[in-house]
């Protein structure tokens, strides 16, 4: 625009310039608005496309039949998801059992006990852990966890714990549910710790002061003042961790054994839904209904995760709002 010699000219020009600026602003606003609807559209589009691709198999078999069907023989047109659903559940639930207690204690430690130096040391560590690619976790699982299960955990359990129904073992390879869930447990650690830490941190400070002033010890304060207040948020963190573990593919695929059977012990191999999709995509187009069945597996994953994520996210929002209002 620059300097203008006559005042009159400046006025007209700045009017034109103003109009242009306002137009730019409004045009940008409109196009930005269209882009904001993109995330929602993508979620819906994924849901609809997967449902449409799965439709041929729903048309042939009832949903219940598919979900509890135990036989998976694509060549014969038999698609039962039951072993895979159970495989996913076993691995994920065991991973959560392993991950949640240490994560809770670590988050409590960081939030209630540790000094700021400790926190500034641990935060980047968590970021690192969260940033490591899942394939690298898989490598760690192959090199460290599987041999440990094979040489230490399984023989120990065979000798001392075989009276317990879930700990009997015939599998001597080390690949199996336990290895998969240890890897998963480590992978969800950063997610759970950082959310729990945030939630604990959001608990109003006055609550702690009141409890300490009454002569309670720190742990008593945590136990009876902080944790009850933070409980819904902690629940949300666990649910988010669960859904993260539920959908993890590569790392689990590399250590879980991939045998389609109904697991009876933590040492048995399993075949989670994610591994089913990843392992079979190459041949799925040559067999009728096979691609529909695999997309069905993706649809199951998606629906479960959508429900969990929406509940947990909305729950967390209410938790934070509640803390602010206190």
């Amino acid at each position: 625009m620059g300097m203008q010699p006559s005042p009159k000219k400046t006025v007209t020009l700045s009017n034109a310039a103003l109009r242009r600026r306002v137009f730019k602003d409004q045009f940008a606003g409109k196009s930005f608005f269209i882009l904001t609807s993109l995330p929602l559209l993508i979620v819906l589009l994924i849901l609809i496309t997967l449902a449409l691709r799965t439709w041929p198999i729903f048309a042939k078999q009832s949903v219940l039949e598919l979900l509890v069907g135990q036989i998976w023989k694509p060549f014969k047109g038999q698609f039962g998801y039951y072993p895979f659903i159970l495989g996913t559940l076993w691995v994920t639930v065991l991973a959560m059992l392993l991950a949640v207690p240490p994560c809770m204690f670590t988050a409590i430690y960081l939030s209630e006990y540790a000094g700021s130096a400790m926190r500034t040391f641990f935060k980047p560590l968590l970021d690192l852990l969260a940033g490591i690619p899942s394939v690298v976790y898989g490598v760690w699982g192959l090199v460290v966890v599987v041999p440990w299960v094979q040489k230490t955990a399984a023989p120990f359990s065979k000798q001392w714990l075989s009276f317990m129904p879930f700990l009997r073992t015939e599998n001597t390879t080390g690949y199996g549910i336990l290895a998969g869930s240890i890897v998963l447990a480590v992978m969800v650690t950063p997610v759970i710790i950082s959310i729990v830490f945030e939630v604990l941190h959001a608990v109003p400070f006055g609550l702690r002061e009141a409890s300490l002033a009454m002569g309670a010890t720190r742990w008593q304060t945590v136990k009876s003042a902080v944790l009850p207040r933070a409980f819904p948020g902690i629940l949300a963190a666990v649910v988010l961790g669960f859904s993260r573990a539920f959908g993890e593919t590569m790392a689990v695929l590399m250590v879980v054994g991939n045998v389609a059977q109904i697991p009876k012990s933590v040492f048995d191999p399993a075949y989670p839904l994610t591994a089913l999709i990843a392992n079979n995509y190459g041949e799925m187009l040559s067999i009728p209904l096979y691609d529909a069945a695999l997309m069905g597996a993706a649809l199951i994953l998606l629906i479960v995760i959508l429900i969990f994520n929406i509940l947990a996210t909305l729950g967390l929002r209410r938790v934070y709002k509640g803390m602010h209002n206190l």
Partner: protein, 286 residues
């Protein structure tokens, strides 16, 4: 009374001990992961691995390297990061400058959070279906699109958090001078948080470069260097995965080396973003 105090003290020490144990075990596991990757990967790592693409018989243990996968990964994640940035930045501008109804903003944030949680294998499957519909083969472009879906929520949500830190008065004073929202977005907000924005971009890039399940169907794998948007492209995570899947120890060795390269890349990205954030945050008005 004294007994009770003793019990309290015991309880305190007991739980403090458990906490320290948990803390140490998590640190220890991280150490074990890094140690494993370095110890296994370093012996097989050499210049040829980084500068050559696989030659004939590579997967039987002969000459060659993983340059195809390194370049492929950089192209895939780079393209996806660029696309995600083009979508994420306007979304965040809208949420912070234009939005009138907070309900819509909440909806968009929820959708982004939900997208963040969708597993990458589902993105892979979705991308694969779309490519089938369009008649595309596994290609660099397909991989970029699948990764964009994966990176978009990560980038948008981290930028959203960053923009929340900008003081409201800054926007207000710019508006008081007669600036439009669009101008505020470009010349006030972006300048204010540029280093933090770079951190968000690098975070998304790091996630994208490490993801295997989404590019498995969409980008495919090839021994050639990436040579076109519509041709298949290799990627580092898949290079690790496929090489570890072969029965030959020499090739598995290279799988470990590829894992080391991937880890170093990801760690370097994370360190650079941290450094950027700390270096530039000096200029930010708090």
């Amino acid at each position: 009374m004294k007994k009770r105090l003793n019990r309290q003290r015991m309880e305190e020490w007991f739980f403090k001990g458990i906490m320290l144990l948990s803390f140490l075990s998590i640190t220890g596991v991280l150490g074990s992961i890094l140690f494993t990757v370095v110890v296994r990967g370093a012996p097989a790592l050499n210049l040829a691995m980084l500068t050559q693409s696989p030659k004939g018989g590579y997967y039987l243990g002969k000459e060659g390297g993983i340059l195809n996968a390194i370049l492929g990964s950089l192209f895939l994640a780079g393209g996806a990061t660029l696309l995600a940035l083009l979508v994420a930045l306007p979304i965040v501008f809208y949420l912070h400058l234009y939005v009138r109804k907070t309900r819509w903003a909440n909806m968009v944030r929820l959708a982004l959070d939900v997208l963040w949680g969708i597993p990458s294998i589902v993105y892979g499957a979705f991308g694969f279906i779309i490519m089938l519909m369009l008649g595309m083969r596994a290609s660099l472009l397909g991989g970029i699109i699948a990764l964009t879906l994966l990176e978009l929520p990560i980038m948008a949500r981290s930028m959203d958090e960053i923009f929340q830190l900008i003081p409201f008065e800054l926007k207000e004073s710019a508006f008081a001078l007669g600036t439009t929202r669009f101008e505020v977005a470009l010349s006030v907000m972006v300048r204010q948080v540029l280093p933090a924005l770079l951190t968000a971009v690098l975070l998304a890039f790091g996630r994208g470069i490490g993801d295997a399940a989404s590019v498995l169907f969409t980008a495919g794998y090839t021994d050639r260097l990436p040579d076109g948007l519509l041709r298949p492209a290799a990627s580092l995570p898949l290079a690790v995965f496929f090489q570890l899947g072969t029965p030959f120890p020499e090739v598995q060795q290279r799988g470990y080396a590829a894992a080391l390269v991937l880890t170093i890349l990801v760690l370097a990205i994370s360190l650079v973003s941290r450094w950027l954030a700390s270096r530039f945050s000096r200029h930010i008005i708090k």
